[in-house]
Amino acid sequence: MIRKIVYGVFILIIIAAISLFISNYKFGVDKMDVGKYYLDNTVPQTGAANVVTSVTLFYRGFDTLGEVTVLFTAALGVAVLYFMGEKKRKQKLQESNFVTKIGTRVVFPFILLTGAYIFMHGHLTPGGGFQGGALIATGFLLLYLAYEETSIDRKKFYLVEGLGGLTYVIMGLLGFFMKDSFLANVLPNGSLFNLLSGGIILPIYIGVGLKVGSELSNIIDDLMCEVKCEEAGGEE
């Protein structure tokens, strides 16, 4: 009990210190230094309507490349942890709710479609590769929920994943080779609000969307099989 109070107090002290610190930087006042630059230059420089997207994918595109890599790494990590070798993955057909099952069949393609819509329009709307990819993976999650025996073809998914990642890197390298700067915009900006605008953002977001979708699906595949295999009496 004393321990709980002590740590509670400690945490409150930390919170107090950070609050005190932040209070020096008035809430609601822009600190826009580079931010202002982005707002002013996004449209002429990138042709994207969504400034956040232009920041994530263009000005700070190198971060996002890292972010893609983080997810890639996590997927690999999960795959490593749940690696089951050549042993056939045991699957037990669980009786699932009929409504869920059939509903899933109908809804699933629409979810994929929406996912594609989201990552295709990342430069125009709040969506983007990650959101779209996540949505696609959600579709697969649904499939797994309804159909216990689902097992995706990992080779195809790895192909999509790798191609998605390569798209990003190659788009970046094009900039490197043509303008001596990684991720430099080598495509025309197009006209605002059109699908074909935003320079390299669209192809990259397509890549990211596919990559994220396949990666998250892989993670789901690993985790779900883990659960199922355990129910089926475990392996090892």
Binding site: T100, I118, T125, L145, V227, E231
Partner: protein
């Protein structure tokens, strides 16, 4: 925002509070999941409402994604309740 909008928002807020009561009271996971399901549906409507009020159509995309995710989310929870993870 007009007054009518505010009234609408108020009603939804009140409904939200009531649902949150069920969410906290339970008494079991299934009941909580049910409360959560209703809440998410309400939030979808709320997104649409904000898209309307703030005049930013892209909120609709958010609403669509949110609807999909919450649907799958409820199914996950249902599965969890039924058999554990």
């Amino acid at each position: 925002m007009k007054v009518v909008d505010l009234i609408y928002l108020g009603l939804l807020a009140f409904a939200t509070i009531l649902m949150v009561v069920r969410l906290t009271k339970g008494p079991d996971t299934a009941n909580r999941a049910m409360a959560l399901d209703t809440l998410t549906t309400l939030f979808v409507a709320l997104f649409v409402f904000f898209a309307f009020v703030f005049g930013r159509s892209f909120y609709m995309d958010v609403a669509v994604v949110y609807a999909i995710i919450s649907f799958v989310g409820v199914l996950v929870v249902a599965r969890f309740i039924e058999r554990g993870l």
